[in-house]
């Protein structure tokens, strides 16, 4: 029966951010693609150590902001000068000025939606199931431990080779994670 359980990946535990970062550099240089580092707080410099590109969340925020800006002006133009034109103080029905405070707030609101929902989308969250969250040892990832996980699905993964690589990086504990 034990053979039926698929291995998700190899989990290596580190006790300091520096160790985890050096390990990440080794894994990056070995050319792995399906792997990750789990830390209780963002470690400064880890993105470079993992070879990650700049996050794309900014684009979602920009898209949200542009939508908010356009939608705000369109809404006010539609409501106050097209669908129900109303003259106030003998002023023109539409001007870029008076809607500005509302448009400004809508720009910020939708940019913020873009930032947070873009972040959740890029991270594929919320996630109802993750093999690592079943692992008892992994609870340290939100406490004070640092983990490098290399998935078995990685084309460069091999039981012996990957184990040796992580051992040479100086991990304190290693185990296979079930899928």
């Amino acid at each position: 029966m034990i053979n039926d359980i698929q291995a998700y990946g190899l989990l290596a535990e580190f006790h300091t951010p520096a160790d985890a970062m050096h390990a990440a550099e080794k894994v990056r240089d070995a050319g792995f693609t399906r792997w990750d580092v789990h830390t209780p707080f963002p470690v400064h410099g880890m993105d470079e150590a993992m070879g990650l590109k700049d996050s794309k969340v900014g684009w979602f925020s920009f898209l949200g902001g542009s939508t908010g800006f356009t939608l705000g002006y369109l809404m006010i133009w539609f409501m106050n000068s097209y669908n129900y034109p109303i003259v106030v103080g003998g002023k023109p029905l539409m001007s870029p000025m008076f809607p500005f405070p509302v448009v400004y707030e809508m720009t910020i609101l939708l940019s913020a939606f873009g930032a947070i929902f873009g972040m959740l989308f890029m991270n594929r969250l919320p996630k109802l199931y993750h093999p690592l969250l079943k692992n008892c040892r992994f609870k340290g990832a939100t406490h004070d431990k640092f983990y490098v996980i290399i998935e078995t699905a990685d084309p460069r993964y091999s039981d012996a080779g990957t184990r040796e690589l992580l051992e040479s990086a100086g991990c304190k504990h290693m185990e296979t994670v079930e899928d």
């Binding site: 830390t39 963002p42 993105d47 509302v102 609101l109 913020a112 930032a115």
Partner: protein, 476 residues
């Protein structure tokens, strides 16, 4: 030359003591200690003082709802409003509570952009304070419309009254958008900051019910660095968006007054003056809340005297801006040459409401200047008492602006005097009950200090520090 191939040994001596920074987390506490300490507050037994405070706050909150029920069922006549003074305590309380909220956003967003790492120990509680304060604030414009069942007219919703829409030239409508955007963005920012900490609690807690709820709201967070990368970008963006937002919210609140033609309201200084006052009052409230929490939960290593001192300095800076604005208002009232404006200001200081004006001046102009002294800033009891004076002074500032400007307008035949009724008073006190109930629930069920963020500012988190595992070697 064989000796030239070996690099010269560089010895960097420690900086002199007086320019060394005090650490943000005292006693070299480790990341593990930080989670234990903060999550321990939620996991431990509910303290007796919590039950006592809750038992006091709940009936006060209920009183607020009863008063609102009485107002709605009877009409705005139960308040002390009269003909020229159509804006009384409701608007005073609205501006007061909205202002309180501003410190939370300043700490979470502006100080983040300015790389003030000390914010990490106070941002979570301050953001919670913002959200609850905005909730208290939101009650008042809703109920002061009189026929509350028409409050939805504030929003541009399609309706059966023919094509009829809100009128977007009104600053009151700008306010609807500003406050609702502020509440939504603050809530999202706060919740996003909570995600990694909820995961910490999820991974520690024992009970099935707790595990389910903390698990649900932590969205399956695993601390993946690929996630942190996007998370940090989103955090930076939200900080960058909240900064212009927080400045705009109280500016727009001030437009409610400044865009009108009432002497005493119609001034261009209002937006910056309101924003500074809001941050001043908000820091007053943060100090009022954090000083007791720090001792009750033994958080002295995380919320150090340095943190309190820095907050006192922000209070001093913003309080000075407020004091300057009071002086400048008077100068312009004289220099502008408008007799109505000049009269409004003379009347403020020496008219029937002189007492409110001088309470405001003594609390807001004198109090912050005591923070010039280190002995004051480091005395927790004294700072706490002064923070209460800031809260009182800022409430009176709004009272002075709203009531004294309205009670004597252009035609003396319209002049009147405004006094609140017991309904006004009890509704306002009731909102403190609501605020306290929400805040007590927050400190009982959610981490009141941002665990992952505080871990990130310790030496243990720095891969280039010996405590973070640096061996002194070079890494690529």
């Amino acid at each position: 030359m064989a000796s030239s191939s070996t690099a010269p040994q560089l010895k960097i001596s420690a900086p002199p003591r007086e320019i060394e920074r005090e650490p943000l987390v005292l006693n070299q506490r480790s990341p593990g200690w930080i989670s234990d300490q903060i999550a321990g507050i939620i996991e431990g037994k509910t303290p007796t003082w919590w039950w006592v405070t809750m038992a006091i706050s709940l009936p006060i909150m209920l009183m607020c709802f009863i008063m609102i029920g009485y107002l709605i069922s009877t009409g705005v006549g139960v308040w002390g409003l009269n003909s020229p003074i159509a804006w009384g305590w409701a608007i005073v309380n609205f501006v007061f509570w909205i202002g309180i909220g501003h410190a939370g956003t300043l700490i979470s967003a502006v100080l983040f952009l300015l790389r003030q790492k000390w914010r990490t120990s106070i941002n979570r509680a301050a953001e919670a304070m913002t959200i609850f304060a905005v909730m208290c604030a939101g009650i008042f414009p809703g109920i002061h419309v009189g026929r509350i069942w028409f409050a939805w007219w504030l929003f541009p919703l399609p309706n059966a009254n023919g094509p009829i829409w809100p009128q977007f030239r009104s600053p009151l409508l700008w306010d609807v958008f500003a406050v609702s955007t502020y509440f939504t963005v603050s809530l999202l920012f706060w919740y996003m900051g909570l995600i990694p900490d909820l995961a910490t609690i999820r991974d520690r807690c024992k009970g099935v019910v707790r595990k389910f709820f903390y698990g649900l709201f932590s969205l399956g967070w695993t601390g993946s660095n690929r996630h942190w990368s996007n998370y940090e970008k989103a955090y930076l963006l939200l900080a960058g968006l909240s900064t212009p937002l927080v400045l705009s919210v109280h500016s727009i609140v001030s437009f409610d007054f400044a865009v009108s033609q009432v002497p005493g309201w119609h001034t261009t200084i209002f937006p910056p003056y309101f924003v500074a006052g809001a941050i001043f009052s908000g820091f007053g409230m943060v100090l009022t809340l954090m000083i007791p929490l720090r001792s009750l939960f033994n958080l002295q290593d995380l919320l150090t005297v340095r943190h309190i001192e820095l907050m006192c300095k922000v209070t001093l800076a913003t309080g000075s801006i407020v004091g300057y604005a009071y002086g400048m208002e008077f100068f312009i009232a004289w220099y502008g040459g408008n007799p109505y404006e000049a009269y409004a200001f003379q009347n403020r200081a020496f008219g029937p409401y002189w007492w409110a004006y001088w309470i405001m001046i003594s609390c807001n102009v004198i109090t912050p200047h005591l923070f010039w002294f280190k002995r004051v800033r480091t005395n927790m009891v004294f700072v706490w008492i002064l923070s209460i004076f800031v809260n009182i002074g800022m409430w009176f500032e709004r009272f002075v602006i709203v009531v004294t400007s309205l009670h004597r307008d252009y035609i003396p035949a319209n002049w009147s005097y405004y006094s609140p009724t017991y309904v006004d008073v009890l509704t306002f006190i009731g909102t403190f009950g609501l605020f306290m109930v929400l805040f007590l629930l927050f400190i009982r069920f959610l981490p009141l200090i941002a665990i992952s963020e505080v871990k990130g500012v310790t030496n243990h988190a720095d891969p280039h520090h010996p405590l973070g595992g640096a061996k002194g070697g070079h890494h690529s």
